[in-house]
């Protein structure tokens, strides 16, 4: 009996604190633990395997299963009930053969036929792409300056970039209403400074949407860029200078190509959420703005058309997964080439 216990105890046990060890030992006395461990051991599963399996388990629980559910809904038809869609499998009679499979590709066909969705897609992509580009143009010099500042300052400066996260996202977007509205902070300031005579309409324009997205997502651009630029080997720049390369050219020949993984990561982190962005266009954008996030919201909550909403979500996902996979491949390739 005691022998068995000793075997059952995981080898890491020695390194754990006494309290945890005690708890583990208590756990090991419970039948379910020993039963599970025996079962798992029979399948060749050890503690190490469990650690590796954990992320997969996470993905399964919080990505794959929800995805399958949404996929399932996207292929069913609407009906006035709770939940507001027909089940995929349906018994129409008593017999086994009366099992009916209700696959309804009509939702996707509908997305394709109604130009609203296509325009919303294109518009979202465009808004996201332009905002990503602006974020990159602002974020790159920012990240560069921080990465090249003295070590004493880097932490402080990065902290300042991340600091806005400590207040609520919604609150910050609301604050922009106060800044951009007709008698808001910005207009009042410009009138006071004599730049303009009458308030310029900024709220509920595309400008406000860009402003909001760039502002909200800038840290996501700066962080991967900073991480990349900070670890760059500066002797490479010295080598370039030594070979007759002026600083500006050295930047375009050495720094920029080597920071591409950071650029790609930053752009992905901004572009992907920006495409599906709902809050910023609703609060700051024009009322008739066609963003896919807004369309999704309307289908789901206003029209209660869950299947079409799901189809939109799936289409959006597929549309975004393709470039992610592509870019991740490209990034892996450059990263591999980058390790000297």
């Amino acid at each position: 009996m005691t022998q068995h216990h000793r075997q059952a105890q995981p080898p890491q046990g020695e390194r754990l604190s006494a309290g945890v060890q005690l708890m583990l030992r208590a756990l090991q006395h419970l039948p379910p633990y020993r039963w599970t461990q025996a079962r798992l051991a029979r399948w060749g599963v050890r503690g190490r395997t469990a650690v590796v399996a954990l992320p997969y388990l996470w993905l399964l629980l919080f990505f794959l299963i929800p995805f399958v559910i949404v996929l399932k809904i996207s292929f069913s038809a609407t009906q006035l009930s709770m939940p507001p869609y027909q089940p995929l499998l349906q018994w129409t009679g008593e017999k086994l053969t009366s099992l009916r499979l209700n696959i309804n590709p009509g939702n996707y066909l509908y997305l394709w036929q109604d130009s609203l969705y296509g325009r919303a897609f294109v518009n979202s992509i465009q808004v996201a792409a332009v905002s990503t580009l602006i974020t990159l143009l602002i974020g790159y010099p920012l990240a560069y300056a921080i990465a090249r500042s003295s070590t004493k300052w880097r932490g402080v400066l990065m902290m300042m970039v991340i600091l806005p996260f400590w207040t609520s996202f919604l609150l910050r977007v609301y604050a922009w209403i106060g800044i951009l509205k007709n008698n808001g902070l910005l207009n009042n300031f410009l009138i006071w400074a004599g730049v303009i005579d009458e308030p310029v309409v900024m709220l509920q324009t595309n400008f406000a949407v860009y402003m909001g997205i760039v502002y909200s997502y800038l840290p996501f651009m700066v962080m991967p860029l900073y991480a990349n630029l900070e670890k760059m080997d500066l002797t490479l720049l010295e080598a370039a200078k030594d070979l007759g390369c002026r600083p500006m050219r050295a930047f375009f020949n050495i720094t920029l190509p080597l920071s591409m993984p950071g650029v790609v990561a930053g752009c992905m982190l901004v572009f992907i959420p920006a495409v599906g962005e709902f809050v910023i266009p609703s609060l700051l954008g024009p009322p008739d703005s066609l963003m896919i996030g807004k369309v999704l919201w309307t289908e789901f909550f206003n029209n209660r058309d869950w299947p079409v909403a799901s189809a939109v979500a799936i289409a959006l996902l597929i549309f975004l997964v393709v470039p992610i996979v592509y870019f991740q491949r490209a990034q892996a390739r450059t990263a591999q080439a980058g390790q000297a």
Binding site: A239, G244, L258
Partner: protein, 381 residues
């Protein structure tokens, strides 16, 4: 006739020729990082086509001095002239100098070909010319077949050659090499050392090589500058440095040495006699020295210049007696550690010229040690 012999000696040893114009003139250069003095009042002349080695322990300022030559650091005070031109304020990309970095600093996102051609591309040379010269250069360092590879696909030795090719392609008048062979194993290192010397002779470039490996410095250099704590303590040919070190530090840094503290008891222009408490007889040195009387002195004798015998040597100077405590057989030679009556342990090496030694010296045996009167060197502390 005599003059032509002198002439050729002057070409081979321009540092002994008062008329020769140094290619690099370092004048009283000091470099401080905050309070810390990394390079301290260094003055140095380096001549055309020399292969000059900067040798010294870790942190003694070798890299800093080299970086000032390349233009990555400005001297805190003092001046550097290259080819007669004052280099202060001239950025690295405008100096006629190329550097091979300690870490090689190859551009990871470029192929071998692009790395080597980078300097020419920056000069704005035509594509075809770049391709030709890169191909030639890669052939010179026998890396032709790797031209399409990225640096991470190369071995350490191959990277080192690419770095060398990249630094040489612009045909610089001066090439700076910071620990060029640091990453190579011993065999490859020795081979590359000779390749480097050959290349240097073939191209007629002036090399300044930094190393902390004294054997490497001896193999490569026309002259060696020994550095200690930011200062140049001695400059000379490898032979001069080895045979006539001027200080205890240099003697100990280059090769191994037996040192005895002592004081002068006879000081003549052509010889001196020194009493060392650790030796039971005085040391007779067959050359004069320039030292203040009563100054603390050290007698340095190299291990290979001490002979062992079982018979008592004649005379009353330059020998002593001890007991063999350790014998290490190294193949080409054997190392003996011998304990003197005074408690001092001496290191003696002997070439293994014959398979069977007729004078079979073994552990715990009493032996006599003696040396020629030209062998000891008197050094200051």
């Amino acid at each position: 006739m005599a003059s032509s012999v002198l002439e050729s000696a002057a070409i081979r040893q321009p540092w002994n020729d008062p008329r020769a114009e140094p290619y690099i003139r370092i004048e009283r250069v000091t470099k401080c990082f905050g309070e810390f003095v990394a390079v301290n009042d260094v003055s140095l002349n380096i001549y055309r086509t020399e292969l000059f080695c900067l040798l010294g322990g870790s942190g003694c300022g070798k890299t800093t001095l080299l970086r000032m030559l390349a233009g990555f650091e400005e001297p805190s005070s003092g001046k550097i002239f290259i080819d007669g031109i004052d280099m202060s304020g001239i950025p690295p990309y405008e100096r006629p100098v190329n550097m091979m970095f300690q870490s090689y600093a190859l551009f990871p996102h470029m192929t071998v070909e692009q790395n080597v051609g980078f300097g020419l591309k920056m000069e704005g040379k035509a594509k075809s010319e770049i391709a030709d010269r890169v191909a030639n250069m890669l052939k010179l360092v026998s890396m032709g077949e790797f031209s399409k590879r990225k640096p991470h696909q190369l071995s350490g030795g191959q990277r080192q050659r690419v770095a060398l090719a990249r630094a040489l392609i612009k045909q610089p008048k001066l090439l700076l090499l910071d620990e060029p062979l640091g990453a190579l194993d011993k065999k490859l290192r020795e081979r590359t050392q000779f390749e480097l010397v050959n290349l240097q002779e073939k191209l007629g470039v002036t090399f300044v090589v930094v190393t902390h490996d004294q054997e490497e410095a001896m193999t490569l250099a026309s002259r060696i500058g020994v550095m200690d704590q930011g200062r140049i303590v001695q400059v000379g040919t490898p032979k001069e440095i080895y045979e006539f070190p001027i200080s205890k530090f240099v003697a100990e840094f280059i090769g191994s040495v037996n040192l005895f503290e002592g004081r002068l008891i006879a000081d003549e222009p052509d010889h001196v006699r020194i009493a060392c408490p650790e030796l039971d007889r005085p040391v007779f040195v067959a050359h004069g020295i320039s030292s203040a009387p009563q100054a603390k002195l050290w007698v340095a004798i190299r291990p290979e210049k001490i002979q062992l015998s079982l018979k008592r040597p004649a005379g009353d100077e330059n020998w002593t007696r001890g007991i063999v405590k350790e014998i290490a057989y190294l193949g080409d030679l054997s190392v003996f550690l011998i304990l003197l009556d005074s408690g001092k342990t001496l290191r003696v090496t002997r070439p293994n010229m014959w398979r069977h030694d007729d004078e079979n010296i073994t552990w715990e045996q009493e032996v006599y040690l003696h040396w020629h009167d030209t062998s000891p060197v008197v050094v200051s502390a």
